[in-house]
Every structure is written in structure tokens, then in C-alpha cells.
Amino acid sequence: MSTTNEFPGTGGLILNEPLLWHKGKKGRIGMSIPAGEVPAAAIDPLLVGEPADFPDLSEVDVVRHYTRLSQWNFGVDSGMYPLGSCTMKYNPKTNERQAATPAIAAAHPMLADELCQGTLRLLHELQTYLAAITGLDAVSLQPAAGAHGELTGMLIFHAWHRHRGAQRHKILIPDTAHGTNPASAALCGYQAVAVKSDERGMLDPALVAELMDEETAGIMLTNPNTLGLFEERIREIAAIVHAKGGLVYGDGANMNAVLGVMDAKRCGIDVLHLNLHKTFSTPHGGGGPGAGPVCVTGELEPFLPVPRVVKEGDRYRLDSDRPLSVGRIHAFHGNFGVLVRAYSYILSMGEAGLKRASQLAVLNANYVKERLKDVLHLPYDRPCMHECVFSDLKQQAQKITTLDMAKRLIDYGYHPPTIYFPLVVHGALMIEPTETECKDDLDQFIAALRAIVREAEEQPDLLRQAPQRTKVRRLDEVQAARCPCLTGPSAV
């Protein structure tokens, strides 16, 4: 397993490909369109702008273009993608097949309830499954992604406090919560108050008690937190927040660690969002589409977005008569195709299978942690959940950074882990292997990182110059951020 030529990364012929504007030629066409039988009519030039600048291309030009671009890409179907906090697990192809079923894929979202009983049933059953998985009472499938779920949760906090007649303006957010939490709270008008984690990476109930007051709407925490550690004192913390009239938001982005293990309601969580595109195996990356359903306690159900899918007898219908609702937060029923994939995944796995997936995800992360902690600094040396966080402290003597090690992993054929997050670990390298990887593949990944650590001591320039086997070398991220180029060249 330890010889370099067995690593997935290798050199090879990479086909170049110009921009389509540089490839086309005037008059080239992809298909022959029959001559029109209707005489052309002039359009008022005020109604049309400049013609779009599209190159003329043949079908094979376009097919080769996009095929080549796809070959420069790296996805979970090409190799291990241990991007911490993102749960890049394999997406079984059966989910795609179910979502592509014509009766499902072609259902029009404006069909009357009596003409789409099947799709409504699917939505209702998915809500019921997600409630059972989290232990919470009611679910809205509308939010389109995790941060959208967080915003919906904050709107529910706000609506609940308003209903009680006393609005609050602050919210507690631990430094180990997901980075989007403060932004979601701020978008809802709350002022985020940071809560420092202790030297074990845990939230201290005493500190929460000190900060929680009657101006504070509640707390937004991530459990397991972004260090990959389970907040052991969650119930104590929730009791403190509830006693002061606040609510507890649980960011469920890390649910892949605790499916069938953690009951969010018994932990004292009032609102929790799930990332179907992480935990429930729907494709993600490149910005979407995702799905971030929000699960709440019975007390908060009246505030969920409308319309709600309800079951009456053996019939399903959409109900918008919810006066306390925060309103609609997405067109139609959220990203329906993603919901179908998650539904398919839950049915394929079953209760025992989902729990087993979480157990294996946690086992894999702990295995990686134990096998690498002698060569990489492990700031919190204790059992982790679904991900482990190292730092570049041991490589500082060679002036090798986390970024250098991450770039070198690309040469070995792996997608780099998440780097420089969470912020509480200086130079963080955050690895989430997920349950997807078997032990052989984990061993190979571990061998790659150990080889990189050796290179850092013996040939550090290999790391500083990485990646070397890719189509392009290390990109100038600074220039790209300072002077982004967001438009294509004009075809002339």
C-alpha cells in the first residue's frame, strides 16, 4: 500500500480546450432547422436589445467542449473528497433514477391538489421521516439550502417572540458554530454575541448563563460542533436558555454523525435544519441546488412557512391557513428534485441503515485521527464525531503551511480537506472521510498524508510548488479575489 505509484494521483495527457468564443466559426451549425413556412415579421427594435454574443458551433464542438471540461473536474465519483463540514458522501445512482421517473420529474407544481396526490404524499412522508429521524414534531421542506434553513429558523424565533409580545434583539453564537450562523441571524436583524468555547472545544454552560439575558432571543449552536466534537452539556445549556425565555437553534449540518443516535428534542433543541445535500446523499458542490428542511417542536409548528402539506384521512392537500406562519420562503415546494433523492435514500437505507452510516462515518473519522496524530498536530485529542481537525503546528519549523499540504494532496489524487476552518484552530486541516470510504481507501489516504509530511521535512519545495500534476499549477487566489474576471471575451 505504501509505494507511491499506487496512489490515485498520476500524470497523464490532459486535453486542452479553448473558450467557445475562440472555437466557433461563423456559419457552423449544430442542427438543420427546416425553412420557415411563416413569413418573417419585423420586431419593434425597441423591444430587443443587442443580439446575444453566441459563437456558431457544431454539435461535436459542444460535446467535446463540455466533456473535456468535465475531465478537468474532480467529484466524489472520481475519488475521495474529504472536505470537512461538507459531508461529501457518495450519491447512490438509484436516487437519480427515482428523481428522473417521468411521473415525478414532469409533475407541474401548479397542479391542483387532487391531481398530484402522489407528489404530495411523497412530501408528506419525507416530512414524517425527517421528524422521526430528528425527534422533532413538524417539518417544512421549503428552505433551499442550509443557510436558508437557518434564516427560516431565525424568522421562526422572531415570530415566536413577537407572538409572546416581547421582541428581543441579540442571539448567542458559539465560536464553534457554523460560519453562516451569524450571517443568518444578522439578516433577520439579530445582533450576534460570540460565545467562546473552552480548552476542550466545548461550550461552557456557566458562560451561556452569564450571557443569556432577557434581551437575547436564544442560542444558535452546531452539534456536533465544527471541531467535530459533540456538545456534551447541550441539555444543561438548553435549560439555561429556556429558563430565560429563549429558544435553542440546532444547526444540523453535522447530522451525518448522529442519525438514529441523537434525539434533538430531548437535547432541548427547538428548531433544527437538515442539509439533505449532505446527510441524505443528494448531489452537491458548485453552489447547488440543495435542500435545508426545518424541523421544529410542536409549540413552534404554527410558525412554519406556508403552504403546509397536510394529510386528512387518506388524502393530501396544501394548507395555507396558518395566521402565525412566517409566510412563504420559497416558490412551490422547495427544490423538489432534491427532496425526491433524499426520500429515495431514506427508503433505501431504512432506520438501521441510516444509524449504521453514522456509526461508520464516526469510526472512519476516528481512524484517520488516530493514524495521523503522531505526524500532524491534533489540537483536541479526544474522540471525535464525523470529522477530525488537525493543524500545521508541527510543520511550522519547515515553514510549510496547511495550504501547502492541501495542494500537495491534489498531486496524490485526493480532493483537499477543508482548510483554515474552523477559525478556533490556527491553520486548521479538517478531514471528513464520511462512511463512503472503505478501510483500504482510508489507509491509502493516510499513507498519502504521511508521505506528504515526510516530504515537508525532506523536500519542502515539492509542497510549496504543488500541485504539479494538474492541468494548471497553483492559482493566484489573491489576484483572483482582488481583481475578479467575470466576463468572457467578445467574439470578434
Binding site: L423, A481, R482
Partner: protein, 131 residues
């Protein structure tokens, strides 16, 4: 990344726990971030600063610096009103990396000049960095 002994920490300015510096300039005080802060953040790509006329209490967040690694909040070393912001940084945020002590972020008219004396001097700040 620099070792602690490689850092440039001038003696004629004061420092905060959050790695801002403050430097008196007549009736006003210039505020920036330390060599340690710029080195830890890495290449800075975006600077968000307050408006002239905004007032802040000591410790208030007054802006953000975005680097290729992360977004970091800026905290006011002393209470006061913003009388000027360094607009040159909008187009050239790299100046903070190149010259952290010449690249002031905001100029403050202090409301309590005594607060300046409470900040760390270079020796105290160095001790803080050594932990």
C-alpha cells in the same frame, strides 16, 4: 509565516489584545492592524471600513478585513468618532500586508484620551504574543 522574533513591533504605538494598533497624531489617533495580524491573515483582498462621522465605543466592531483565508473583524482600541478613513486601501488592500504601520485604517477623535494609556506597549504586546 513569521516567527515571533521576526515581527516588526514599533515602540511608538500601542496595541490591543485583538492585534489592532493605535498611534496618536495630534488631537486624533490613527488605527491599524499589527504586523502579527497581517501575517496571520495572509493576503488581504477586501477592506470594509465605517463612514466618517460614525462613533464607536472601545471594543466595538468597526469594520472587517477579508483575506484569502478568512474574514476578520476589526475592534476599536479606544472610544471616539471617525474623522477620516483610509480610502486608498479600497483599491490596494495589499498595502496592509506590505506596510502594516503606514496603512492606517481609520482616524479617530478620542472621546476619552486616557484610554490610550491602557493599551499594551510594544513589550507588553510581545509578551501577549509569546503567551
Amino acid at each position: 509565516m513569521k516567527e515571533i522574533d521576526e515581527l516588526n513591533l514599533p515602540d511608538d504605538i500601542r496595541y490591543t489584545d485583538d492585534h489592532e494598533w493605535a498611534k496618536p497624531a495630534g488631537d486624533t489617533v490613527l488605527v491599524g492592524v499589527s504586523d502579527y495580524a497581517q501575517d496571520q491573515m495572509g493576503d488581504i483582498v477586501f477592506v470594509e471600513l465605517p463612514a466618517v462621522g460614525d462613533t464607536f465605543a472601545k471594543g466595538d466592531e468597526f469594520g472587517t478585513l477579508e483575506s484569502v483565508k478568512a474574514v476578520s473583524e476589526l475592534y476599536m482600541p479606544i472610544s471616539g468618532q471617525v474623522v477620516a478613513v483610509n480610502i486608498a486601501l479600497a483599491d490596494a488592500p495589499e498595502l496592509i500586508n506590505q506596510q502594516p504601520y503606514a496603512s492606517w485604517l481609520v482616524e479617530i477623535k478620542p472621546s476619552d484620551p486616557g484610554e490610550y494609556e491602557q493599551l499594551h506597549d510594544a513589550a507588553g504586546y510581545l509578551q501577549l504574543l509569546r503567551g
